[in-house]
């Protein structure tokens, strides 16, 4: 029983985590496919940018263990690989801006992906261009006209722009312009302004072909959006009945799905989801949410409360939690900072000022414990350590701590919120938090 249930959970997890299917981008998909195919068959050189919001399933996922994983580019590539001439006269080079942080590394991995290490090693090249040219040269077969075509897929394309005068991009685009060798460059990024990052000489060589993956339900009305999301939720969470792959008995599966359908009908549940959509209406958000829900399931079926709980966790502010974890003393300091920035409209403050303000307060009401200066300084440092305040100029390491200037990184609202929530505060402190006059 127990492990059966676990099987369901496992299935769902897999379904949510690994499933990168993205709907309704057939047009763009076709576009890319054509592009690559032309490079493959006719040996055209091309360059394109695929731009879409984060985690909308555009990126390249090495589909190793689960065959569910299908991202847009993957789909395309799979289709390509079906073509018989793919293996023979095309090489795929995948680069990632995160991994290949400079051109040297990029070239190194390019070489290895072209299986040209043995050819290259020992050779020394003057410039990057020569090196690249040589690589492409190696791909040519006997007669000049024919050559293997190379498909470069640059993930996190925007990071490549930060390389030292964009040598890699320049050369790739240059090659793609001047028909030295048939290559296709497909950049993948989530930055809409990525074109602006390119230097002039690079930009000029780029065929300004950009493919946008825009969220398409942007124009649909609220209710539709809700429906849409509910549908998504359903096919994320529904367990296919009687499938051999997951080893569960049908009764349990049925029971699960039943609870799911009930849930989807539930009014309160709809409110929860509506709220979720109002916060953020993106695929990734939804997934994260569902993942959290699933991972917190301990054998019980889906209920509204679980969703509600997750929603609350989603909505609550970490800062306030941190503030609540402070000691009374530290909270007092924070409050006096609040007063400071309110009085001197957001002027920076230093320890001395905060200290004096606090001491005034502490002396005014006997209920508040008073502390030694050194101790208060340490408390101040603790606050700094939690990055509730930040130093203005960290160049002045020579000045004593007491005089370094800081700005407050939490809003008065958050502070009041925290004061309200945290229990066991002396009443004086609570009052002080609300009005600076003690």
């Amino acid at each position: 029983m127990e492990n059966n249930f676990n099987h369901i959970i496992k299935h769902l997890k897999q379904n949510i985590l690994k499933n990168r299917t993205c709907y309704g981008y057939e047009k763009e998909e076709q576009q890319i496919y054509d592009l690559l195919e032309r490079t493959l068959d006719c040996g055209e050189s091309n360059s394109a940018l695929l731009i879409g919001p984060r985690r909308c399933g555009k990126t390249l996922v090495n589909n190793n263990n689960s065959n569910l994983v299908i991202s847009l580019v993957n789909k395309v590539l799979e289709q390509l690989q079906l073509k018989d001439n793919f293996q023979t006269d095309c090489i795929l080079v995948k680069l990632n801006g995160l991994i290949h942080t400079d051109d040297r590394l990029a070239l190194k991995s390019t070489t290895s992906q072209m299986q040209l290490d043995n050819v290259v090693d020992g050779k020394v090249f003057g410039t990057f261009a020569e090196n690249l040219a040589f690589l492409l040269e190696c791909l040519r077969t006997g007669d000049k006209c024919k050559s293997k075509s190379v498909i470069f897929i640059l993930e996190a394309f925007d990071l490549f722009c930060s390389h030292h005068n964009q040598t890699l991009l320049y050369n790739l685009f240059d090659v793609s312009q001047s028909a030295q060798a048939p290559i296709c460059i497909l950049g993948i990024t989530c930055r809409l302004d990525v074109i602006e990052l390119l230097e002039k000489r690079v930009k000029s060589r780029f065929s300004h072909r950009q493919i946008f993956l825009l969220p398409h339900d942007s124009q649909t009305s609220k209710s539709d959006a809700l429906e849409d999301v509910l549908r998504k939720i359903e096919d994320y969470l529904r367990v296919p009945e009687g499938s051999v792959k997951l080893k569960t008995n049908d009764t349990l599966t049925k029971q699960w799905n039943k609870s799911l359908t009930n849930l989807l009908k539930d009014k309160k549940f709809k409110n929860v989801i509506q709220r979720l959509i109002d916060i953020d209406n993106s695929e990734s958000m939804l997934k994260d949410f569902l993942v959290k829900v699933i991972f917190q399931l301990n054998g019980e079926n889906l209920t509204v409360d679980i969703f509600q709980k997750q929603l609350n966790m989603l909505e609550e502010d970490d800062m306030i939690k941190v503030l609540q974890d402070l000691t009374v003393l530290e909270l007092c300091l924070i409050i006096s900072m609040k007063h400071h920035i309110e009085i001197y409209d957001n002027n920076p403050m230093n320890f001395e000022m905060i200290y004096n303000r606090f001491i005034k307060f502490a002396n005014a009401n006997a209920g508040v414990q008073n502390f030694q200066r050194a101790v208060i300084l340490k408390a101040f440092e603790h606050i700094q350590g939690l990055e509730l305040i930040s130093m203005l100029s960290n160049t002045t390491s020579k000045v004593q701590k007491e005089y370094q200037f800081f700005k407050l990184l939490v809003t008065p609202r958050q502070i009041l919120e925290a004061v309200k929530k945290s229990s066991g505060l002396p009443t004086e402190v609570t009052q002080w938090a609300h009005s600076s006059l003690t």
């Binding site: 090495n62 995160l98 974890d325 005089y403």
Partner: protein, 437 residues
């Protein structure tokens, strides 16, 4: 209903962390081969973050590598540490080489792929906030390490600060978060009580748990408002408990009469509250009279005072302050009025201003009664003051000039006040902040 014995034993050994343990247990790749790419554990210092994670990983026998980012002052060390731990690499003492030399992410990933049996393993990065100060690509790379390596690795980041602080343009993956809240008073009491065995082993006499509990509740009643840090509290409680026991040890009273004990300990606790976080025993009175504990030559003291005056008085006031019996009282009074209006922005609150060497000397000679020749030993005093960090060279003046060099006074008011007292010099009379008082 997670009836895993491991979880139960964990809850036994790590009290007051039940919900966190449950959450974590669900996230770890123990039960099935699907694992979360990244988990972010956040909570104040000494709330058992690392303890929970490590002990859970051990108990569940999950292959894991725990790296404390503080010690990775270069990303090279970080990478090599991780590789060493994942590959169970052992150094050859005579010639200790790492599992593999690698100083960039690309090599790291390729090496990682090289190690086998990493499926469903966990990588724990403690003090994760350090990642922000390292190479920009590290944080996003670790957050999506499964994608990059297509290995089933869960990355657990442990940190004191909230995840908001990590946001920058390249962090697009939001890890699942587990928050470790600070212990409240009762929880602290419960946990500190676990210290019983240690304390008993240390103590000279015999007593039972309730006795210790009583002490702790007394202790917390004093300290809780100032400090919730478990380590600090444990340290403090241990230090004070011996003093708490003293009357019993000296046979002045029995374990039972708590009133006597309380009357005896109350002042002690109050004192040790003064040195909270300072890690010194109260008996050493270095704290409160630093100036007395520090012995300076006579002229050095005067120089220091002069430096302080130079730092905290504006140059235009010098004449008024140091020239004796200046005629124009009325003007100065008006100025003083003007000063007293802005009470908040006192010079002594804004910090020291740089001053030139000859201004220092001028003030020095102005406040010093007897005439003293200007010789090397005097010059050396200045440099030695700088060496002791009582003066600091401010970056304003260019180093080349012999006399263009600018200094700042680097001591607090209390310090200089008591120093001035030792040479019978009333400094308040010479500080423009206090003259109007």
């Amino acid at each position: 209903m997670a009836t895993d014995p491991v979880v139960l034993s964990l809850k036994q050994s790590l009290p007051c962390r039940d919900s966190q343990i449950d959450q974590l247990y669900n996230l770890l790749p123990g039960k099935d081969d699907i694992s979360i790419p990244s988990v972010y554990i956040c909570g104040a210092a000494s709330t058992g973050k690392s303890a929970v994670v490590t002990s859970m990983l051990h108990k569940l026998e999950i292959k894991h590598a725990i790296v404390n980012l503080v010690e990775c002052y270069t990303s090279k060390i970080l990478f090599e540490n991780i590789l060493n731990k994942f590959s169970d690499h052992t150094f050859d003492p005579t010639n200790p080489l790492p599992y593999a030399k690698c100083d960039n992410l690309m090599d790291f990933i390729s090496h990682l792929k090289g190690i086998n049996g990493l499926d469903k393993s966990v990588l724990v990065l403690d003090k994760a906030e350090e990642l922000r100060h390292m190479d920009a690509n590290l944080l996003p790379a670790f957050l999506r390490i499964t994608e990059l390596t297509n290995l089933n690795i869960t990355v657990i980041l442990i940190s004191d600060i909230v995840f908001e602080k990590y946001y920058n343009k390249s962090t697009d993956v939001e890890p699942l978060k587990v928050y470790f809240p600070q212990y409240n008073k009762d929880e602290l009491l419960e946990i500190l009580t676990l210290d019983f065995d240690y304390v008993k082993s240390e103590a000279a006499i015999d007593f039972d748990v309730d006795f210790y509990k009583n002490y702790l509740s007394l202790f917390l009643s004093v300290f809780y408002r100032a400090c919730r840090d478990l380590c600090e509290l444990r340290y403090m409680s241990r230090v004070n408990f011996t003093k708490y026991l003293q009357p019993v040890v000296q046979k002045q009273c029995s374990v039972s009469d708590s009133m006597v004990l309380w009357r005896n300990i109350a002042p002690v606790l109050k004192n040790s509250l003064e040195v909270l976080y300072l890690r010194v025993d109260v008996t050493s009175d270095q704290m409160n009279n630093a100036a007395h504990s520090l012995e300076l030559p006579y002229y050095a003291k005067y120089l220091l005072v002069a430096a302080y005056l130079a730092s905290y008085n504006s140059t235009k006031d010098d004449k008024k302050i140091f020239v004796r019996n200046t005629g124009k009282k009325s003007k100065s009074v008006r100025e003083i009025k003007a000063k007293s209006k802005v009470s908040e922005q006192l010079n002594t609150q804004l910090g020291p201003k740089p001053f030139t060497f000859d201004r220092l000397l001028a003030i020095f000679y102005a406040i010093l009664e007897e005439k003293v020749g200007f010789n090397n030993n005097l010059l050396v005093q200045v440099s030695s003051l700088v060496e002791l960090r009582l003066l600091v060279l401010s970056t304003v003046g260019d180093g080349t000039s012999l006399d263009g060099q600018k200094y700042k006074c680097n001591v607090s008011f209390d310090f200089i006040h008591s120093t001035a007292k030792t040479i019978g010099f009333n400094i308040k009379k010479y500080l423009s902040d206090f003259r109007h008082l």
